[in-house]
Every structure is written in structure tokens, then in C-alpha cells.
């Protein structure tokens, strides 16, 4: 895949039928293998943007390219199976075991059963859940952190080149969140996936992002690397940096 852009948005807008725009004239690129953070307050359009990428929503104007091909030329189901998707509440199927949940996309893609099983074991180990202990459990028998790990394993199972993550660690307690963030940073570097990661947590953005796109009221304010972000002059960026406040930990981790 080389270094070409994995995702490209050109002046993308999404308007409701009432005329209100949730996303306005958004243009950005995500290079293959990088982690782009979409940072913003609630209502800034970050989740909408993510859903436009996997065609859960369709832009009302503008164009999106995925792996060099216009998103609207992709068959939505095919497109989504090439993009792992992790959401805040994990969205695991409560009536399925961990094993079946993780095997979802490989089975939809009709992988041979032996390969599916091997892949599930590999994925569970990757996210730190010993398969012999967790395969047969149901989602309600897991802690919040374990559920999110399963969510990540499920998203990665069919080895998609792109990973979309919508506040995946947002509902976790601070200690578990920090633990998953650290592990995820290592994982992301190792797997080389293109990742688009939505968060409202500036510390998380600084820790995980190779670049940070700040959204406000549906518009892109700026895109910075974490280093640039801390020094940037834009008022909205300064507000987010200021919210780090008396918490020097996040800066030091950079």
C-alpha cells in the first residue's frame, strides 16, 4: 500500500433534512499507517465524520476516497468489512460468546472454519485475553475493560487495513482507560493500521495520535501533530490545551 493516502475527504458536508449541517466542508487526508485523532466537544461532528467514512451516513456534498477509490463506488458491506469498527459500548452481541463475537467478520467472509478458530485465538491473545479462559464467556460475564478488548479483537479479526474507533475507552474507569490506552499505543505501532480515532479527551489525543484534527461545530479548526498542538495559537486548540490544567502527566508522557 506504500505511503499513499488511505482516506481522503474533500469538502465533505453532512446536512440534516432540516438544513442544519453536522459537518461542514471537511477536508483532510489520513496517510496509510497513521493514527488520526478527531478531537472535539460533544456535538462537534466527530462521530458523524466517522460514520461518513464507513457509509453509515452518506455525505450530502463533497467526496470521500477510501484506498484511492470513491467511497460511493464501494459496496457498503464490502467497504465496512475492510474497516474495523469499535464503538464506546463495544456493541458486542450479548447472545454470542466471546469466540463468536470475535469471529464475526471472518465468518461473514466465509473463511475456512479452522482458520477462523486460529485467528480468534490469535486476536484474543493480542488483546491480552487468554483464549482458554475467555472464549466461551458471554459479554455480560466480562468487565468493561475486557469488553472493549473483545471489541478491538473483533474489529481486527479480518485484518482490515483501516480501523475506525469511536471513543472506545470513553466509558471506562480512569485506571483501566490508561491501561488500555498504553496497550493500544503499542498495538497500533506494531500493526501499522490506518486508524481514525474519535475522542473528546485531549490527553488521549496527545498520547495516541500521530496527528490531531480539532473539530468545532462541524468544522475542522486545525490539524496538528501532538507537539504542534501543545504550542498552537488557535483559540479552540488553546482551550483544549488549557483543559489539561494542573495535570502535567499528559505532557510528560509525550
Amino acid at each position: 500500500m506504500g505511503t499513499k493516502n488511505s482516506i481522503e475527504c474533500r469538502e465533505v458536508s453532512y446536512r440534516l433534512s432540516s438544513g442544519d449541517a453536522l459537518v461542514k466542508d471537511l477536508s483532510f487526508e489520513v496517510a496509510s499507517g497513521e493514527t488520526l485523532i478527531l478531537l472535539g466537544r460533544s456535538g462537534s461532528g466527530k462521530t458523524t465524520t466517522l460514520k461518513l467514512l464507513n457509509r453509515l451516513l452518506e455525505p450530502t456534498s463533497g467526496e470521500i476516497f477510501i484506498e484511492g477509490r470513491a467511497a460511493r463506488d464501494w459496496e457498503p458491506v464490502r467497504l465496512r468489512r475492510r474497516m474495523g469498527y469499535v464503538i464506546q459500548d463495544a456493541g458486542l452481541f450479548p447472545h454470542w460468546t466471546v469466540e463468536r463475537n470475535v469471529a464475526l467478520v471472518p465468518r461473514l467472509e466465509h473463511w475456512p472454519e479452522e482458520k477462523v478458530r486460529a485467528r480468534v485465538r490469535e486476536m484474543l491473545e493480542l488483546v491480552g485475553l487468554p483464549p482458554q479462559e475467555f472464549s466461551a464467556r458471554r459479554p455480560h460475564e466480562l468487565s468493561g475493560g475486557q469488553r472493549q478488548r473483545v471489541g478491538v479483537a473483533r474489529a481486527l479479526a479480518a485484518d482490515p487495513p483501516i480501523l475506525l474507533m469511536d471513543e472506545p475507552f470513553g466509558a471506562l474507569d480512569p485506571v483501566t482507560r490508561a491501561e488500555l490506552q498504553r496497550e493500544f499505543r503499542v498495538l497500533a505501532a506494531r500493526l501499522g493500521k490506518t486508524i481514525v480515532f474519535v475522542t473528546h479527551d485531549v490527553r488521549e489525543a496527545l498520547l495516541l495520535g500521530s496527528r490531531i484534527a480539532l473539530l468545532s461545530a462541524g468544522r475542522l479548526v486545525a490539524i496538528h501533530t501532538p507537539e504542534e498542538f501543545l504550542l498552537a495559537e488557535d483559540i479552540e486548540v488553546r482551550e483544549f490545551v488549557a483543559s489539561l490544567g494542573a495535570d502535567p502527566e499528559a505532557r510528560r508522557e509525550q
Binding site: 458491506v77 465496512r80 468489512r81 469498527y85 459500548d89 456493541g91 447472545h95 473483533r154
Partner: protein, 210 residues
């Protein structure tokens, strides 16, 4: 004649009427399920259709059962005297709980689960069969359970239009002013309703506790 002698004397007819009764209910439930389940799935995400279908089913439910049997007799093809009319009337009654519970069960599936299913690239058919229906099953079964119990009760009135069943004893007993004859129909009908409820409850628990 003692109560015991009465039962012994009539046991073969009681048995035959019970079988007839079960037949009426089973046929009506079969029809109600065949219509109610797919229709319930169809109306979940179509709010206008849902209002019309559930509204109509609600109105049908409010018609007194004896009147509904009467109304159906002159209707061509489905009407007339006999079990066909009774089965149609019973299916109409069974339809509402099946429809509402199917729709409610599917509508009650966690939106995050559905979003994940769609976002992971499941087709709508896969979402329905692998996610929505299995998760809606306990609620749908509650509807089926209610519909069955209602049908067993209402089916006693089918005797009024010549469809047989345990209602035959009840109507005969009323005409003869003989409580024993009434009870010969009423008790087996009540036992049937309790048994059906228990049985479906077991099925429901089995499916839910998986």
C-alpha cells in the same frame, strides 16, 4: 348420579372435545404465527404501517368474541357455520399479542449492538436473522404465550357457531341448567390453558438462559 360417575360416563366425549379444542387452537395459532411474525418484523421500522396494523389489531381485540364469531358467519369464503370460521376468529384474536411483542422485541434491541452489526458489514438480512430475532425471542415468546392462553379460553365460544370443542359442554350445561355439564367443559379448558402456559414458560426459560 355422583360427579365421579358423571365423568366416567362422559369421559370419551370429554376426551374427544378436548382434542377438538386443541385442534382449533393449534390451527388458529399456526395461522396467527405465520401472519403475525413476518408482519411484526415488517412494521418495526415503518412507523405509519405500524400505526395502521397495530390500530387495526387493537380494534379487532375490542370486538366481543361472541360478536366476532357472529360477524364472520356471513363473510364469503372464510365464513359459514363450522370450524373454519372459528379458526379465523381465533387467529384474529391471537394476532395482536404476537404482532405487538414481535415489534416490541425487535425495537428493544440495544442500538449500540445494531450499530456495531451494521458497522461491521452485516447485511440487513444477517442483522435480522443473527442479531435482531435472537435477541427479540424472549419478548416474542411472551406474546405467543399470551396469545395461546387467550385462544384456549376464547375457543370455548366456538361451540356457539358449531365448531365443537370444550365449549359444547358449557353451552349444553347452560341450556340444561346443569353445573356438572358446564364444569365438564370449563375444567379441561382451564387445565389446558395452565398447561400451555407452563409449557411455553419452560421453552422461554430454556431459550433465554442459554
Amino acid at each position: 348420579m355422583s360427579w365421579r360417575d358423571f365423568l366416567l360416563r362422559h369421559q370419551s366425549e370429554i376426551l374427544a372435545r378436548t382434542v377438538e379444542h386443541i385442534g382449533l387452537v393449534a390451527a388458529a395459532m399456526g395461522i396467527a404465527l405465520a401472519i403475525g411474525l413476518p408482519l411484526g418484523v415488517m412494521i418495526v421500522r415503518r412507523s405509519i404501517l405500524r400505526r395502521w396494523v397495530l390500530g387495526t389489531a387493537n380494534v379487532v381485540q375490542t370486538i366481543p368474541s361472541l360478536a366476532l364469531f357472529g360477524f364472520l358467519i356471513p363473510v364469503p369464503w372464510i365464513g359459514g357455520i363450522g370450524d373454519r370460521t372459528a379458526i379465523v376468529a381465533l387467529s384474529l384474536y391471537a394476532l395482536l399479542p404476537i404482532l405487538t411483542n414481535t415489534a416490541a422485541g425487535i425495537a428493544g434491541v440495544d442500538p449500540a449492538v445494531l450499530e456495531a452489526a451494521r458497522g461491521m458489514g452485516m447485511t440487513s438480512r444477517q442483522q435480522l436473522w443473527q442479531v435482531e430475532l435472537p435477541l427479540a425471542t424472549p419478548v416474542m415468546l411472551t406474546g405467543i404465550r399470551v396469545a395461546t392462553v387467550i385462544s384456549i379460553g376464547v375457543a370455548t365460544i366456538a361451540a356457539a357457531i358449531g365448531a365443537g370443542g370444550l365449549g359444547v359442554f358449557i353451552f349444553r350445561g347452560v341450556a340444561m341448567v346443569d353445573n356438572r355439564v358446564i364444569l365438564a367443559g370449563a375444567i379441561p379448558a382451564a387445565v389446558l390453558a395452565v398447561l400451555a402456559d407452563l409449557l411455553l414458560g419452560v421453552v422461554q426459560r430454556k431459550l433465554t438462559s442459554r
